[in-house]
């Protein structure tokens, strides 16, 4: 009897395994724990940064999603948002407080939202923004391998997107899902991360003024993990140029969640 129960439990466990990961939050994907290698590795911790497993939205937040948010949270409507939380460009691509632009698809990624707005949306959903480490960990995967960042063909593809104007914005879910099942991390819009303002800060740069060391001019690749990883340079540069109230026409976001 006991043996039979054990076998049954084992079978259940097996079934669970084959059915995939335990069901997480809707439309989110589990990214297993791993290591993120920052572009500028710390001298004190060159082994990379451990990233715990987490959930990430399979798709960027869409215009339709964001409309629901501003309906439920009027203080985030275009005419009512406090200037300190979003600059003048906030939702300027919409026609009104509750009316997305006519050329904008409801399932296109929402853009022209500030970091504060993205964060408030995530909180409202019971989620949060992903950190740089988490976003990069998820985005390193190509459609076929978790470490796509080491695949020159995949890098070339990303670079081609960086070189291509992405307007007008198309519906999400265009791209192939990556190894983890997440779409549109590349090829659609840039995305806010929780700690965008940590970009370019090394682990051991406490001396003020030293922080942008190596970003500008010919020193750009000095100390970088991989001088060929141009997409990582571009993302780092882009993030470090942002301020929390900036609303940019090709900058959206997606949410993450702890396990």
């Amino acid at each position: 009897m006991k043996a039979r129960v054990t076998v049954m439990l084992w079978l259940f466990a097996l079934a669970g395994e084959t059915l995939g990961a335990p069901a997480g939050p809707a439309n989110m994907v589990l990214v297993p724990a791993g290591i993120y290698h920052p572009l500028f590795e710390s001298r004190t911790a060159p082994a990379g940064i451990k990233v715990s497993s987490f959930y990430l939205d399979a798709l960027p937040v869409t215009v339709g999603d964001y409309l629901e948010f501003v309906l439920a949270n009027p203080q985030w409507q275009r005419s009512r948002v406090k200037r300190i939380f979003a600059d003048e460009a906030y939702l300027q691509n919409w026609e009104g407080d509750l009316k997305p632009g006519t050329t904008e698809l409801a399932d296109a990624p929402v853009t022209q939202v500030s970091w504060f707005a993205a964060r408030a949306y995530a909180q409202w959903k019971g989620k949060r923004l992903p950190t740089i480490a988490e976003w990069e960990r998820a985005a390193a995967a190509s459609p076929t391998r978790p470490d796509g960042e080491n695949d020159p063909a995949f890098r070339r593809q990303i670079l081609e997107w960086y070189a291509t104007p992405s307007f007008p914005l198309v519906s999400v879910e265009q791209g192939k899902p990556n190894f983890w099942g997440i779409r549109d991390l590349h090829g659609m819009v840039w995305e806010w991360v929780l700690d965008f303002n940590a970009a370019l800060l090394g682990d051991d740069t406490q001396a003020g003024g030293q922080n942008s060391r190596g970003l500008f001019c010919g020193g750009a690749s000095q100390g970088a993990r991989d001088v060929d990883d141009y997409p990582a340079f571009m993302r780092t540069g882009f993030r470090s140029s942002l301020k929390a109230d900036y609303c940019v026409h090709n900058l959206g976001f997606r949410c993450a969640k702890d396990l």
Partner: protein, 208 residues
């Protein structure tokens, strides 16, 4: 039959009602993003840093919002108490700045140090820091906040920061001058003892 239908309808209604009751309940627990405006924020300019509604704790263990700082110019700096490098220098610079102010102005300027280090800079640790650096109780405020509050304040002040593997914080050094309404009037970026801008800027605020 009719009775049965009625019961059925009633049970659906009950289910719907209980569902909306449950929804109401979850709505009650609102995040800081979605809370109704605090009365004390009324009349503050839209670009006031005091629009942030996060609750901080000072070294007297009192909970407070940043808007409690309004009413006089404030010098605001983010730091952490165990910092071995720039933070002691910045605090020293702030004390020098305070001494450089004319007496009548000095007593009406607040100095606020908000810590990056939610975990270690407890109110008690901040109290020790105050004692170590002999920071006057009258106009120096030391604040501990949660991770969200720290992120918010850093974001509005344009301070870059990042926690390192050993729990230390890498951060940019920014001294911010806020007017009585909490608007950013001037920022000194980096450690620059040669920078003499702050004193006249504060004096200018005081005479207006």
């Amino acid at each position: 039959m009719k009775m049965k239908q009625l019961c059925y309808a009633a049970s659906i209604l009950a289910a719907v009602l209980s569902l909306s009751a449950a929804e109401l309940k979850t709505n009650e627990v609102k995040h800081s993003c979605c809370q109704p405006m605090d009365a004390s924020l009324k009349g503050l300019p839209e670009k006031s840093v005091y629009q942030l509604e996060t609750v901080w704790t000072n070294d007297q263990n009192q909970a407070m919002q940043l808007s409690a700082l309004k009413g006089r110019p404030q010098i605001v700096v983010m730091f952490f108490a165990s910092c071995q490098y720039t933070c002691p220098i910045i605090v020293h610079q702030l004390k020098q700045l305070e001494e450089a102010l004319p007496l009548g102005v000095r007593t009406n300027v607040g100095f606020t140090l908000a810590s990056f280090d939610s975990k270690r800079d407890t109110p008690a640790a901040l109290k020790d820091f105050r004692a170590q650096h002999t920071l006057p109780q009258l106009n120096w405020t030391l604040l501990n906040g949660d991770a969200d509050g720290v992120a918010d304040l850093a974001a509005v002040l344009g301070v870059k920061f990042k926690q390192g593997a050993q729990g230390q914080f890498a951060h940019s050094n920014v001294i911010t001058l806020l007017n009585a309404q909490g608007e950013i009037v001037y920022q000194q970026i980096g450690l620059n003892p040669e920078n003499q801008e702050l004193v006249p800027r504060i004096e200018k605020l005081e005479t207006h």
